[in-house]
């Protein structure tokens, strides 16, 4: 979970008051280090091997691209679903939005007359930042309007978002191409000789792989930062998070925005993969979002590897099944059954079960008296273990009460819990 070693702080903590002594540097845990980075290493090796051996096989490379961007989208969705504990059934909307944003603003805007000639480009790659920014913005706006809601009401708003989103297509028919959707410029169609060099499908594949790795890196950092922990605290008990100094509303909005941004870039890759983007009809967004959620749930919520495993497994499974096109009719059936079975029997998903097995193995070894590797408990200086009252910038008068309650009354309906009570608490008592 968290880093087992306490790194040596190189700068004094500015606002914490007294400086703390340098903690003894812990011996590097080689085995833990290898185990931690092994999955990512394997993933990178797998991507390179697959890319070099299948780079010219359009069918396989396209399928792999799909698995990679869906994996990234699932990791993004997992920030919201697995860590913050908010269920969105409208995230496929962000994939669509990202595809459109990249297509409309990227090459389009970069060729506008006011852009200096030497910057002008028709390269579709410039759609990527637009997809991210616009997707994250849409996510923020949606989140601002629904993150005050309790429990599943948030899910309701995301459902409604999916119903409403395709109508944007009718409003801006010229730019978005109506219900038929619009085509997307091929990423290799550019005047820039360097970018146009690689016009095989493998280029997109490697970009999708890079994007997935970036997503993993960012999520990894997130879960080991104060923000990721705040998200998890909201998932477990929002009440306690609020009194612990977490601005839960902003935390939820930021989590929403991140997952929307990541999904939007995945949507840009999806648009490049199919070279077109359309918004789908009524219910399509919900259906796709549901499938994305099931990928996360099957793989394991609240883990990094889980969503990737889920996305890879399901994409490749359907890739094989699509040999016969009739299988497309069974999408809802298969995902529905998967959802039912996973939620009812293994709510922690594949990763959760793997973790359980590892824990059980550890327990058995401990029972047999074999030593199991445990993380070291860092020792700290006594000073760090002392509770400290708040240091104030200006000295407060000593007779100022810490807490003064005047005439406090609290009623619950007809019941008066507190009636006009006063309470004064002096400092240091």
């Amino acid at each position: 979970m968290t880093t087992p070693t306490i790194p040596v702080p190189t700068a004094p903590d500015k606002d914490a008051g007294p400086r703390f002594d340098v903690a003894p540097r812990q011996r590097r845990d080689v085995r833990g280090f290898v185990l931690r980075f092994l999955p990512v290493g394997l993933l990178i090796v797998g991507i390179l091997v697959f890319g070099s051996s299948q780079g010219t096989n359009v069918k396989w490379i396209d399928l792999a691209t799909e698995a990679l961007y869906l994996g990234a989208a699932a990791v993004g969705l997992n920030i919201l679903l697995g860590y913050t504990g908010l269920l969105s059934l409208g995230h496929a909307g962000f994939l669509i939005a990202g595809g459109y944003a990249g297509a409309v603003f990227g090459p389009g805007l970069m060729q506008a007359s006011w852009v200096p000639a030497f910057v002008q480009t028709n390269s579709a790659w410039f759609g990527v930042p637009f997809a991210f920014v616009i997707g994250a913005l849409m996510g923020t706006v949606l989140a601002l309007m629904c993150c005050h809601l309790k429990g599943f009401y948030l899910t309701v708003v995301t459902l409604a978002f999916g119903v409403f989103l395709p109508s944007l297509n009718e409003v801006a028919r010229e730019q978005l191409g109506g219900s038929a959707g619009r085509t997307v410029e091929h990423y290799a169609d550019t005047r820039n000789a360097f970018l146009a060099r690689d016009n095989s499908r493998a280029g997109l594949y490697y970009f999708a792989a890079l994007f997935l790795l970036v997503t993993i890196f960012v999520t990894w950092n997130l879960t080991r930062s104060r923000w990721g922990r705040a998200y998890m605290a909201i998932r477990e008990s929002e009440l306690a998070a609020r009194v612990s100094g977490v601005n839960t509303y902003w935390a939820k909005v930021s989590s929403f925005a991140q997952s929307a941004g990541i999904c939007s870039v995945a949507g840009w890759v999806a648009a490049e993969r199919y070279l077109s983007v359309q918004s789908g009809g009524g219910g399509d967004v919900q259906n796709q979002s549901f499938r994305l959620v099931i990928m996360v749930v099957v793989g394991g919520m609240g883990t990094i590897a889980g969503p990737i495993i889920g996305a890879f497994a399901l994409t490749f499974f359907f890739g094989l099944a699509f040999v016969q096109d009739t299988f497309r009719n069974y999408l809802g059936l298969v995902f529905g059954v998967l959802g039912l079975v996973t939620v009812a029997t293994a709510p922690e998903g594949t990763m959760g079960n793997i973790r359980k097995l590892v824990d059980q193995a550890k327990l058995r070894r401990t029972k047999r008296g074999e030593a199991t590797a445990t993380k070291p408990i860092p020792s700290v200086t006594d000073e760090m273990g002392e509770p400290r009252p708040r240091q104030h910038d200006e000295a407060l008068p000593t007779d100022l009460p810490v807490l003064e309650v005047v005439g406090l009354t609290k009623r619950f309906g007809g019941l008066t819990a507190l009636a006009d009570d006063d309470l004064t608490v002096r400092r240091g008592t």
Binding site: L87, K150, G151, Q286, G339
Partner: protein, 301 residues
């Protein structure tokens, strides 16, 4: 606005609103007892529609088919509860949202099963009423009104009143509310809570069957009704306040009238209609997070 527009807004607002309300009542029944939303409700309407279609095709008169469909659909409701809710065991629906996924799953599975085993074509059902005292429909200021429209409006209001009476006046209704407030306490008081939950799902199935047969002359029996109609009606239920029966009806009318008014402005204004409804929906949830008639739960510390 000329008189055609006004009549058009009135007629379409009332009929579409009733359609949404009729479906929304099913959501409400389940929510008011269990605090969960049965996302398979839309699919239950499709299932009921196909059952009724199979019966009428076999030559059974529509009124008898309606009664049989209500019974069959109640069984479907119980099945949905058995598959989607029962395996979850005891849980707090406000914090653990697994039920969203299971009910959604059941909805998708049943739609696909129908697609695979029967077909994906829209099917007509004969109207319940061809004529009222010889009246077979007329045009008011160029807007068509049929007995089916009238029947939908009247039966929605009748169902609303019926459900309200059931919830407020009967012992069963008291059991519903007791289970909704505190399932554990209710079971200590000698209420068979799982039977009550099963009962609400059966009732929701019955309401879905009535809705399916009533709406078929207008909307046909088709797979697409499941998700889209389901979600629209669900939005209406949330807008009005989940758990409140009259809220469902008010929510349905609010959405239908807004949509009809926006559409009546000009030829091109129809494309803005979904956005206006979405804005209305968000706006109301900002002001009243539990919907118009909903009562927000007090946080216990």
């Amino acid at each position: 606005m000329n008189s055609t527009d006004i009549v058009q807004v009135l007629v379409s607002g009332l009929t579409v609103g009733s359609v949404l309300a009729l479906v929304a009542l099913g959501y409400n029944l389940v929510f008011s007892t269990t605090r969960i939303v049965n996302f398979a409700q839309g699919s239950m309407i499709v299932i009921a529609g196909f059952i009724a279609f199979a019966m009428t095709r076999a030559g059974i008169p529509i009124w008898i088919a309606l009664v049989l469909t209500v019974i069959a659909s109640a069984v479907v409701g119980v099945l949905v509860e058995l598959v989607a809710i029962r395996p979850l065991g005891r849980f707090d629906p406000s914090t653990n949202v697994a039920w969203i996924l299971t009910t959604f799953s059941v909805g998708l599975i049943s739609i696909d099963l129908i697609r695979i085993t029967i077909d994906a074509q829209p099917h007509p059902l004969p109207p319940l009423l061809d004529s009222v005292f010889g009246w077979t429909g007329s045009r008011v200021a160029g807007v068509a009104i049929t007995p089916t429209d009238l029947l939908i409006i009247i039966s929605t209001l009748a169902l609303m009143v019926g459900i309200e009476v059931l919830q407020v006046r009967t012992m069963l209704g008291k059991a519903f509310r007791a289970v909704a407030q505190d399932r554990q306490a209710a079971s200590l008081m000698g209420i068979n809570t799982s039977a009550v939950v099963r009962m609400t799902f059966a009732l929701a199935g019955a309401v879905a069957a009535i809705g399916a047969v009533l709406l078929a002359p207008k909307l046909f029996v088709k797979l697409e009704n499941g998700l889209l109609l389901g979600i629209q009606a669900f939005i209406a239920a949330v807008l009005g306040g989940l758990g409140s029966t009259r809220g469902a009806v008010v929510g349905g009318y609010a959405i239908a009238f807004t949509s009809a008014i926006v559409k009546s402005f000009s030829q091109s204004s129809a494309r803005y209609e979904p956005m206006v409804i979405f804005a209305l929906f968000l706006g109301i949830l900002v002001i009243r997070p539990a919907g118009i008639f909903g009562t927000p739960a007090l946080e216990k510390v």
